[in-house]
C-alpha cells in the first residue's frame, strides 16, 4: 500500500517538476510547483512527518506560493518568448542533466546500500508535540535567529515594494 502511494506521488512530483521546467507561462509552472509541494506533503506523511506535511501545505503551498502567484498575476508577465534558445543548452543540457541524475542516484545507491524499508506509521516521531519540544529547547537559538531573519525580510519586502521611497 505504501509503495503504491509512494510511486503515485513520486510520479506526480516528477511530472510537476518537469512541467515546471518545461512550461513557458510562469503561472503554470507556479501551479506545477504547488503540485510538487502537495505530493511532497503526502510523502512526508508517509515518512511519519505529520507536522512537516501540514507545515509544508500551510507555509510553502499556502503562503510562499501565494506570493509567487500574486506576483505573477500582478506583473501579468506573458509567456516567455522563445528567442535564441541556445541549441547548445538543449543538446548539451538535457543529456548532461540525465547523466548527472544517473550519477547521483548511483552514488546514493552505492553509498547507502542497506537502507531499510519505509513503512507508514513505523516512525511517528514527527508530531507537533515532539517538534515543539525540541524546537524550543535544543534549537531555541536558531529559532530566535530565524525569527529575526523573517522580521528583516518583512521590512525589506515592505521597503522595496513601496511606491514612493
Amino acid at each position: 500500500m505504501d509503495a503504491i502511494l509512494f510511486l503515485l506521488f513520486a510520479a506526480i512530483a516528477v511530472a510537476c517538476g518537469i512541467n515546471l521546467v518545461v512550461q513557458t507561462h510562469p503561472i503554470s509552472s507556479a501551479l506545477s510547483l504547488i503540485g510538487v509541494m502537495a505530493s511532497l506533503a503526502v510523502l512526508y506523511l508517509l515518512l511519519g512527518a505529520e507536522f512537516m506535511a501540514a507545515a509544508q501545505m500551510i507555509v510553502y503551498a499556502g503562503a510562499i506560493m501565494v506570493l509567487f502567484v500574486f506576483t505573477i498575476m500582478l506583473l501579468n508577465a506573458g509567456a516567455e518568448q522563445r528567442k535564441g534558445k541556445s541549441i547548445i543548452a538543449k543538446v548539451l543540457g538535457v543529456p548532461a542533466l540525465i547523466a548527472f541524475l544517473g550519477l547521483v542516484s548511483f552514488l546514493i545507491q552505492s553509498l547507502l546500500p542497506r537502507s531499510e524499508e519505509v513503512k507508514f506509521g513505523a516512525f511517528t516521531g514527527g508530531t507537533a508535540q515532539a517538534i515543539g519540544k525540541k524546537l524550543f529547547t535544543e534549537y531555541l537559538l536558531p529559532f530566535e535567529v530565524t525569527s529575526v531573519l523573517i522580521l528583516v525580510a518583512i521590512l525589506g519586502a515592505v521597503v522595496l515594494a513601496r511606491k514612493e521611497i
Binding site: 509503495a3 512530483a13 516528477v14 517538476g17 515546471l20 521546467v21 510562469p26 509552472s29 507556479a30 510547483l33 510538487v36 509541494m37 511532497l40 510523502l43 512526508y44 515518512l47 511519519g48 512537516m52 507545515a55 509544508q56 507555509v59 510553502y60 510562499i64 506570493l67 509567487f68 505573477i72 500582478l74 506583473l75 508577465a77 516567455e80 518568448q81 543548452a89 538535457v94 542533466l97 541524475l101 547521483v104 542516484s105 546514493i108 545507491q109 547507502l112 537502507s115 531499510e116 524499508e117 519505509v118 513503512k119 514527527g126 515532539a130 517538534i131 524546537l135 534549537y139 530565524t146 531573519l149 523573517i150 525580510a153 518583512i154 525589506g156 519586502a157 515592505v158 522595496l160 515594494a161
Partner: protein, 103 residues
Amino acid sequence: MPTSVPLNWYLILSAILFGLGIAGFVFRRNIITVFMSIELMLNAVNLSFISFSYQLRHVDGHIFSFFVMVVAAAEAAVGLAIILTVFKNRATLAIDDVSSMKN
C-alpha cells in the same frame, strides 16, 4: 508489488527533483521561473532531510527542514519584492536584460 519502498528511492526522488531544480535554474530565462526552480531545489532538500530523519529515527531532520522553510519564506518575500522593483524599472523579466551589475 512489495508493500513498502526502501529509503533510497526517496533520496533518489529528491536528487531527481534537485536536478530538475538545477535545470530550471540554469536554462530558464524568466526570473520568476528561476526563482521557483530554486524553491523546488529547497523542497528536494527538505525531502532528503526528512527521509534521513526517518532513517535515524529522530526529529532533528524535521526541524532542519522547518528552518529551511522559514528561510525560504523570508527569501521569497525579499526576492519577489526585488523582482517587483526590477519589473517596475526595467519592464522586463528576462534574466539577461537584468545585467547592470556587469563591470
